[in-house]
């Protein structure tokens, strides 16, 4: 057979095999296969080194650039810290009183404590369509599929979609395929948010929902993720009368361009 025909035929055979592979894996998987484990285990540490070196350079440049505004920023921050300390004291008082009243009324204690697993981001999907990150902790560190991933201040980053032994894949909330059940903090209206190509998060809510720019969005108790995780603030609300819905654009509080250290959280009852 001529070389050209052989290549074309083997190409067709491989294409068919790949299509079969696609159809099998599109059903959804939670654990990577053996081959992937191997690759992931080898590649993730190296990626980690590169990723953190990139961060180092970017931080250095940013620090040099910020040097000028440092004093003014420092003063503003000190003032804000004092205000927040005061608020914090008041909130602790309220939490204690809440707890006391709940006990009086015999409510079940719904205060969830979390177990934190610290991890570093080692890489991001090189394509332009998706936002999947790999982190350097896996099932032997306790990471399981559908765990929430947050940044240290409590902002939701995404959830774990696959957990290998020593590495895991996290799908960010700005990925178009992710969906998180949320409530609006002020009005307790419910909705679902998905990602968007512009790196915002979109919620489709009913036309009568009471939601305005600046509202806070947090995860609801119906989500598979722990409730009360902060997602972001509403950036704009657009009414779509014909579709009987409101399109709400939310700006996520996590800066996905500067993701370094994250925590995988697991609720402990």
């Amino acid at each position: 057979m001529r070389i050209r025909n052989k290549l074309l035929i083997s190409l067709v055979i491989v294409s068919v095999l790949l299509i079969v592979l696609i159809s099998f894996t599109s059903q959804g998987r939670t654990r990577p296969g053996i081959v992937e484990e191997l690759f992931g285990r080898m590649i993730t540490p190296v990626q980690g080194a590169f990723y953190s070196s990139g961060e180092f350079f970017r931080n250095t440049f940013k620090n040099l650039y910020d040097l000028r505004n440092l004093k003014a920023e420092n003063d503003a921050l000190k003032e804000e810290v004092e205000k927040l300390k005061q608020q914090n004291r008041q909130l602790i008082q309220m939490a204690l009183e809440n707890s006391r009243l709940r006990n009086l009324l015999d409510f079940k204690d719904t205060n969830l404590q979390f177990k934190y697993i610290g991890a570093s981001v080692t890489g991001r999907d090189p394509g332009n369509w998706y936002d999947v990150y790999t982190i350097n902790k896996g099932s032997k560190d306790g990471v399981e599929v559908n765990d929430a991933v947050i940044v240290s201040y409590g902002y939701l980053v995404g959830k774990v979609i696959e957990a290998g032994d020593s590495y895991s894949k996290v799908m960010a909330i700005i990925d178009e395929r992710s969906s998180v059940s949320i409530i609006v903090n002020r009005t307790r209206d419910m909705g679902i948010v998905s990602g968007n190509p512009d790196s915002d998060v979109i919620a489709i809510m009913e036309l009568e929902a009471d939601i305005v720019k600046g509202d806070d969005i947090i995860t609801s108790e119906y989500s598979t993720l722990p409730k009360g995780l902060y997602i972001g603030k509403v950036k704009s609300v657009e009414k779509q009368e014909r579709k009987l819905q409101k399109t709400v654009v939310i700006e996520p509080s996590v800066d996905f361009k500067r993701l370094e250290e994250v925590f995988v959280i697991k609720p402990i009852e």
């Binding site: 294409s15 599109s26 590649i43 590169f50 080692t122 999907d125 394509g127 332009n128 998905s194």
Partner: protein, 170 residues
Amino acid sequence: MRLVVICALAVVNLILESTLFQYTRIYGIKPDFSIMIIVAYAIMRGSSYGAFIGLGSGLLIDIMYGRVIGVNAISYMITGYIIGQAHENIFKDSYIPPLIFNFAAIFISQHSFVLFSYFSNNFSSTGVPYVSMLLKVILPQALYNSVVGLLVYRLIYKLDRFPFMDKRIY
């Protein structure tokens, strides 16, 4: 020997693309360095090289970052094969082929990727209109890719002419 170098190149490319090359994003669009390597070898050495490197790179990306395995692999493989068909009729040392072929390669690979993602239920839940996808992602990436692809092509071209590449390792 060439095989070893290409494998090493593919792995190093994956690592760099997911870490350092993320900083090359302009308005969120990053050039596809795997395509540049595939196109370079497809122009220089033909369809078989293009297809195999495409398959390998695509599988690597799918393994590390994909939810559905095989989408990147099949897209890159088809692209590598098609671009490699021009191999016999092109001057390898001219500057024009890498420009044009990188542009075309992005078109082919991204359309194929979107098609396969859509059919394996892997795409957005709200839907993205085709025209906006074309204008905001595919076209800018094609332009970005052809410019940087020219540079990468010259580097790979120089690399491939070293005598040690032809050396056998067995």
